[in-house]
Symmetry: D3
């Protein structure tokens, strides 16, 4: 029995409880998944300022989760804020919906396209694609011209835009798989998949199954995030010496 | 309950039954895995001539597996012979140990190195890395100077070489994860992992869990290999028109 | 006096004798060129399944050609099926129309475009471009929306499509040279070249002259395909040990 | 008269006043430069956890600087923490020592090498090189095997290591310019430059002159950081709506 | 007090004195800038033949400038003819408008587009982008369909074209900064910048400030063009031995 | 009957008549090859200053050759000075030993290494490799630590160095083909090839056969250098208007 924590990395007043319902539906029988959000934070991470505002809180929540027995954490935003830092300071499985979606799409077809919201998102998404190494698999990033908080304002309109841009991605850019560029696009993948006849990756769904996959290779073969370089943890003595707990009001986190 | 077929793509007289035992140990409870090899074929695929000799037989066996109720097939060679063709002519999950290992290593650390046998293998491995899009994640390919049939001749020597080359990969090339470049290197990952303190990916093990992962996203979300481009199937009428069954002695495969 | 064998890698009932006539016209005086096809095989290689079906037969025919005194073989398909394997198991000159066309186009202009048939072909063509290292020279792959067997159904229509797509490649994508993406597009280069005012490479024509070129550097300077790595031959003892002749009905090929 | 703020992004108890002296020496006559550090924070940013701990404080200090009349801010760490975010939320010139050093080195020689401290730093440095687009200009990253807080423990030893690794970079990797990979390596560039006979870029020095340069093009031609995409500011209404001031104890920053 | 020489690399009858006026306006107070052209040469460098005709004269003029006390030279063409050669044979600061513009644009936004004249220019511009290493920062090269001598024939028309192509670059290609691809496009950046709301880089302006920047780092830190590899000077004995002065009518240049 | 002109691009007092003898030996029966050098020029092109000194003279000689009935010109230096310009101003076949060697090596093996003289050459060679698009095929550039004029000072020493560096390239860098990085390395390929057991490309030899190959595709299929973009010729009216003949003492060249 694994325990996974899904963090919706927005202030709790802005969190989306429907996601919790979706998580419960799609998780495997032998896995327990909890949903949480942050004590504070904006309603979206469209600006990298907002992203930085929440990142420290995210990784502290991840550390807390490790201390409270969670085996894996999913950071519920396609930008994967704090993904590498969370792997650095814990020994559990950390999953980002962006990485999980691309990693899956890469084996499902020759090239994938991402349906993103606005042009503001493109450099961040491209930076992640570079970091993860999937430049060669990217067909295009298509813009829906919708913000994070708009996707569920008029579901019909959103779906219409997704169909149009998904079709363009396939016919003009050579995409064979479509990825949604935001976790707030949940609820649409089924219909779009039927319409487009290609896999349409919902990043929340992808991250839950990716977490289960990584938990399984860890249990069976002890393959976790390598702790020798990028994810090497800071020494506890140093964290103590720098008074991180007190300086950042983390109670007894460390 | 999923059914997976593992094909050891060598002539049956050269097949390695120990692999079957290993598969049974590592498969999940709700999955049944069978082991098979080819009716004919060389003992190794170190030459691309040998690879071509067996590829048609591999993909015909894959097609047979689909017709006989298998949900997934693993093509048991790090070169992944027939991987794309198998996805083209079936609708089931097809896994290659090379692709599965790199796909996993890419999320476990910043860069990975591959412990291969001889320099003859390098262009083929590099070609696959290019095809899969993992150039940016590759630290190096290190040579053990051993052929496929040599790995288990003197396990101690093999282990010594693996330790030396794995250490070099980490210290000189910046590898954070090690991948074995041949399925015949099974049996060594545990000791090496302990010695090197980084994940050491056994391609057989990686491919079994990758198959389970892909089966799970297919069952839950209907995400399979995209059939719109690279993996689009040839039309059955054409296969009939070309008399493929008769011409290639395939009985009633098609 | 050199002897070249041109293999039309389709079943003989599907082979195109007009190609033989074309070959005879364009070969140099001191070279003898023969045309052949395969005993069995589909009429096109649009699917990678079909490609694999014929590849072993191709390379065995290449080996046969070497034994019967041919100095060079041209594998008559733009996908270059079996190109590397043929170089691996022989010591003669092996030419692929895809490689020959790109290698020539690269010195005739800044960038080239390929006029291919359908989107299904694109990943295979791109894979070859990657393997040969010509990514930087590629302006675009344009689709004629015609299958291999369609090019000569209505020559006028084909020519119209070629003109339109060739023009687009030049004006929108910056192509300075056009390559036909299929050997079955023979017969069109002259008119197209006149219309577009740029070199239009017919892959059959390119491969014949490339063969003559490689034969000449071999004769003068002993420069053949390097046998030290990618093209290193499998040891004859091993081929014997694996009973390749018997297993694959090759009579006394080895 | 321009005003520049240099932020030493560590807790003030760990800040290095010698840097202030260095800044005063190298700034142009018509420029006033102030030195500051953070209220809290670790003594180094060798771990990406530490980097995230300080980043929000950095960019808030940058915003404060804009409000208090500074024309430019230098974020005093080679990792450039918060560089893009600071450009996003302000309209002033923002300089990172990493970006400034590479941007300069790129015009001073064919390729540059970076003398970094430990292998833990490499992925972060490489990620920045990718983001800035300087992969083609990088000869190598050489490791001094020293931590941030070690560089000035034994200046002679540090200098010896720098000479050895700088020489290697030039002779083995083809470097024509050397960059120090940490602002704490200040004080060494002069001697090293004399020894190696190539430009040795001190990132603090580079960032001061780069700031002056960017201020000058802004004053003369109104060329500042483009505010249309990556650096587009979040709308003030949104920042208010999200109660950022209250939530993050920022007083009346916004 | 620095002295900069700006070379308009065309025959003097074709030179543009308005540029001299522009230079005087934009140079810093403590810098003296002179304008010159070549004794002979075509009116434009649109063909690489013309470029080669003037390059030797350019670099000899640069050498002359060094001997006559100039601290820096700007080679006034976006193609940067003789840039590397000038750095090779002198020890002063050498600036090319192309390099200077891209180097600046790279820090002002995520990606830049270049407004060039005709498709003939593209390969040369791309070659320079490759040499300088800015491929990753390039959004697109847009064509105005105007020759070098056309930009000021009908300023209104030119401005209209620039606005249209600049808008396309931003909206379709993701450009955040615009660069003019020819020094003869001077005079337009202000209006275009206002219209497009992104930085519009005039290469002459960029090169003047880049020269001042490089002069400043040279004065303060002795950072000049590295003389160890690409820019290593030919030995004076060799130049004498080859009678370069006499052979090329250079009087007593060497 | 074709006529080829080989230009040794050095001042005639420094030219190497042995090359003429070599050319006569290796040219095909139906081809006449002439050898020439420049009226003036240094003895080597190791510095890009020297290269620029001779480039205009080279391309004017090429134009002269076209007017005097030559069908092809070989520019006898591995740097290929004036290659693109010569194609721009003529309609005949222009061959550069660098391009010809790499183009051939690319089809003879998986990767090639270049045996160059000194580190000063590396950026120029790399720039050409980028321009021609062969980055992916390059294993390494190895330095013999010999200048152009040194190769034949002590043939035995040169051969020893070549053997050592060639072996390193094969064993450490994965080279399968060796290219000499200077035309002055003629005379060594035979022995080296025997010693290394891989093709060793002499650039002079490669360029003669490449010229014959390009002449043959031009004769048979009218495939010459594309004149639509990079190689588009300047209009004759413009050349006249600019008084190129008079300005550059070209008599009645144009």
């Amino acid at each position: 029995m694994y325990k996974i924590l899904y963090i919706d990395p927005v202030g709790e007043v802005y969190s989306t409880p429907e996601i919790d319902g979706f998580l419960k539906q799609i998780v495997s029988k032998d896995v327990k998944i909890d949903f949480t959000s942050l004590e504070r934070g904006p309603a979206n991470l469209e600006y990298i300022y907002y992203e930085i505002l929440v990142t420290a809180d995210i990784i502290h929540k991840v550390k807390w989760a490790e201390k409270h027995g969670y085996d894996a954490v999913i950071i519920g935003c396609f930008y994967d804020p704090g993904l590498y830092q969370s792997r650095e300071i814990t020994d559990i499985v950390i999953v980002g919906p962006g990485e999980a979606s691309m990693c899956l799409a890469a084996v499902l077809g020759y090239k994938f396209s991402i349906l993103a919201g606005r042009n503001k998102w493109v450099p961040i998404i491209m930076e992640n694609i570079q970091k993860y190494g999937y430049q060669e698999k990217l067909a295009s990033v298509k813009l829906l011209e919708l913000g994070v908080e708009d996707f569920h304002k008029d579901d019909e309109y959103t779906e219409t835009m997704m169909k149009a841009k998904g079709k363009e991605a396939i016919e003009q850019d050579g995409a064979e798989v479509i990825i949604f560029g935001c976790t707030m696009q949940f609820g649409f993948y089924g219909k779009l998949q039927q319409y487009l006849s290609v896999p349409v990756i919902d990043p929340i769904a992808a991250s839950v199954k990716h977490a289960e996959f990584l938990l399984s290779v860890k249990q069976y073969f002890n393959w976790g995030h390598s702790k020798i370089g990028l994810y090497q943890s800071p020494p506890m003595e140093e964290i103590k010496r720098f008074n991180v707990n007190r300086m950042y009001n983390l109670k007894d986190l460390w």
